[in-house]
């Protein structure tokens, strides 16, 4: 290219001066002012809603459950004439983005949704990691988002202004199963805790450990393992310690493998305690009878006596979901559907017609902080201070047990439908 030295030097000098110029230039550039770009100026009579979730990558399964929940909300709202603001109903149109289960891809996707799709508000990611990467960008553009799934407590301690969550953090919910068990006439004395090394599962495992210690159950083993580990050696080691309860923090895939490994090693504790994932239809479908009697924590089950105007009762919701996806919804799907209702209620309250201006979004965010919405999923009320800032703390954690492939509420005392079965029958006598 430039063979003679002087030209080379000139180009280098030019390039460097370009750099210096640009670095000084960017100081006073558009950042706050630019956020104005994000509001839509096109005239439209529907709400454009961004959905960002994991549609590929490691968390594709959960990502699709959140998508189903959001889709069902949009469809139901649209069939009933849209979101009523004033005396006119406005339809909802969802715009999807795949975060590929990767925080960086999620950050790109959300920026695209805000700046080029110009969405009015956002329904959030499945994973906590993506939520943490997306939240600062929402703060920049001042666009509100509610995630119907992310459960890691570490999201809420960061105090993001425009990010909300409709599922209580894992450390609020995971304490309940062992607490319920410890109040039985023949409480478990020892527990082994296994956790998978991702943000959510580790938080669950730590909450299991803390609640066991608090309730006088000895923790005989606590191990956090990387995803993809073979559970057989760990279960063998636990079998030697013979704990009353095996508690596992993970997702449906790991839960399945733990049960399969335990069965193939002939290990049968008095109970398996897990968290999210056992309510996933695949868990019961794949394991059949072996899935039964597993304890879990949930914030919603299909039997709850709750209702709202949009979906009707919780049972009506389950029916609608089953008709559409041929599966029983779990609490993540329900929370995602209910998440849309929070937005509807807040929009109706401030009377904001699409497209939303920046000021209306600001109002929307403030209204979300104030209102309490009663849905088929339960009350949604976001905390406005403390360690769970903007998380829905209105919900009680339920203890569930799988019986004949159905989730049955067995705790806490005030909510239970049946007494917990403990100790549970062995695999071969079911």
């Amino acid at each position: 290219m430039f063979k003679k030295l002087p030209i080379r030097r000139a180009v280098v000098v030019l390039a460097i001066s370009c750099l210096i110029l640009s670095l000084t230039g960017c100081g006073g550039a558009k950042t706050g002012a630019d956020a104005g770009n994000s509001a839509s100026t096109e005239a439209r009579d529907y709400y454009k809603v961004g959905v960002i979730t994991s549609l590929s990558g490691a968390e594709v399964q959960g990502g699709n459950i959140t998508k189903y929940g959001y889709d069902l909300w949009a469809e139901t709202v649209n069939n009933k004439g849209g979101i009523k603001v004033g005396d006119k109903g406005y339809q909802v149109k969802l715009v999807y983005a795949d975060d590929q289960s990767d925080p960086a891809a999620g950050a790109n996707a959300v920026e695209r949704m805000i700046t080029s799709e110009k969405v009015d508000f956002i329904l959030g990611p499945y994973t906590s990691g993506v939520t943490k990467a997306v939240a600062p960008i929402l703060d920049k553009y001042k666009v509100p988002m509610i995630t119907g799934s992310a459960e890691s407590p570490s999201i809420w301690t960061q105090k993001f202004k425009y990010t909300f969550g409709s599922v209580p953090a894992a450390d609020l919910t995971a304490i309940s199963p062992l607490e319920t068990l410890s109040k039985l006439p023949n409480p478990p004395k020892t527990v082994a805790v296994l956790g998978v090394n991702d943000a959510f599962s580790k938080a669950v495992a730590e909450a299991f450990k803390a609640s066991a210690e608090k309730n006088g159950i000895t923790v005989v083993k606590f191990d956090v393992v990387p995803a993809g580990t073979d559970f057989t050696p760990l279960i063998s080691a636990i079998k030697q310690l013979n704990p009353d309860v095996l508690a596992v923090g993970g997702h449906e895939n790991e839960h399945m493998e733990v049960i399969k490994a335990s069965k193939s090693l002939g290990f049968m504790p008095k109970a398996f305690v897990m968290h999210y994932g056992i309510t996933n239809p695949d868990f019961s479908k794949n394991l059949g009878k072996d899935a039964d009697y597993t304890f879990g924590a949930a914030v919603w089950t299909p039997d709850l006596d709750l209702k709202d105007d949009l979906f009707g009762s919780a049972q009506d919701y389950v029916k609608a979901y089953k008709d559409k996806y041929n599966a029983i919804p779990d609490y993540t799907a329900a929370a995602c559907s209910a998440t849309g209702e929070s937005f509807s209620a807040a929009l109706a309250k401030i009377g904001a017609k699409p497209p939303l201006s920046d000021q209306q979004r600001e109002e929307l965010t403030k209204t979300l902080e104030q209102i309490e919405v009663n849905t088929f999923y339960g009350p949604i009320k976001f905390a406005t201070d403390g360690n769970w800032y903007h998380d829905n703390v209105g919900l009680k954690a339920l203890v569930i047990q799988m019986i004949n492939g159905e989730q049955v509420i067995v705790g806490p005392e005030a909510m239970k439908a049946k007494d917990p079965v403990y100790p549970v029958p062995a695999f071969n006598v079911r």
Binding site: S56, G57, A58, V60, Q61, G63, N64, L194, N197, D223, V224, V225, P226, G228, T229, D230, T232, P233, L234, S236, A237, K239, Q240, E252, N253, M256, E257, K260, A261, K263, S264, L265, G266, D282, N286, L287, D290, F427
Partner: protein
């Protein structure tokens, strides 16, 4: 002592599954000089095929193994010319182009599986699933024991084929030195095609066992690619006895580290050992690799 013996047995059984994959992988590397990133995807396809066949015919997946092996061997046989085309490209780093090609292939297969069959987890139930045998106080999971025994039998049969039959000897000759083998009148293309088809068949077949021990889903291939690489590289590419030793080593390390150090460190230590083996014994732990 009981725990120690149990850990030992677990270790052997964990590694046993990967021996077959490693053997096929090694021989295909030896002849074609291809490091196949899609190895996990062949496992996934094998597991899925078993799952679908089992669903529609209700034949036990273990009985389907010969059929799956033959079916995928045929697919490998038909597909090999495409890979050969990449290997033959007149290019400075043709081997690396082939590696990148298999990476593209693995993305393609994984994406297709995800799109066609959805993200759901599936469970492959065999007659041996979740049963166990009690052996002097040690619990032996039946399906894993079956997988390991089967693995060793297949490897032995394959070794017999390679060392005692004429075709086998030509394969070994081609793996040792292609040019000289070519001069001796061995048709390299035919051998490559045969070897690739054996490799794909063996790998897909192992998928049946892996699918029934763990679970079946489109993304499952990724983690087994890592294990397969471990066994192949630690054993020395192309070494039979090396693959067996490395497979057992993989299992024993996973097992003992999980039990005595904590599950968190399993992969850290596995990859550290793999790295050390590569740096100090690039020809594998037995020094018999190509």
């Amino acid at each position: 002592m009981g725990l120690f013996m149990q850990t030992l047995i677990n270790g052997i059984l964990i590694g046993g599954i990967f021996i077959t994959i490693a053997v096929g992988f090694s021989i295909s590397y030896g002849v074609m000089h291809i490091v196949d990133f899609a190895v996990g995807e062949w496992i996934m396809l094998g597991a899925f095929t078993a799952f679908w066949l089992n669903m529609y015919t209700n034949v036990d997946p273990l009985l389907l193994i010969p059929f799956i092996a033959l079916f995928f061997a045929l697919i490998g046989y038909l597909f090999q010319p495409v890979i050969q085309k990449v290997v033959n490209i007149k290019h400075r780093s043709a081997a690396m182009m082939a590696l990148a090609f298999t990476f593209g292939l693995s993305t393609l297969i994984r994406g297709s599986a995800l799109t066609l069959w959805g993200f759901n987890n599936r469970n492959l139930i065999t007659v041996l699933s979740e049963k166990n045998v009690d052996l002097f106080g040690i619990t032996v999971p039946a399906i894993r024991a079956g997988a390991t025994v089967f693995s060793i039998l297949v490897t032995a049969a394959f070794a017999y084929f390679l060392y005692r039959t004429k075709t086998g000897i030509t394969i070994r000759a081609a793996a040792e030195n292609k040019t000289v083998a070519g001069l001796m009148g061995i048709d390299g293309h035919r051998i490559s095609r045969l070897v690739y088809s054996i490799y794909v068949g063996l790998t897909a077949m192992s998928g049946v066992f892996i699918g029934s021990i763990f679970s079946v889903f489109p993304d499952m291939g990724l983690r087994y690619t890592a294990f397969a690489f471990f066994v192949v590289v630690a054993g020395g590419m192309g070494s039979f006895s090396g693959a067996i030793v490395a497979g057992l080593m993989l299992g024993l390390i996973s097992s003992f580290v999980s039990v005595y150090m904590g599950g968190a460190y399993v992969f850290l230590i596995l990859f550290f050992i793999l790295y050390l083996i590569l740096v100090f014994f690039p020809k594998g732990i037995l020094g018999k690799g190509w």
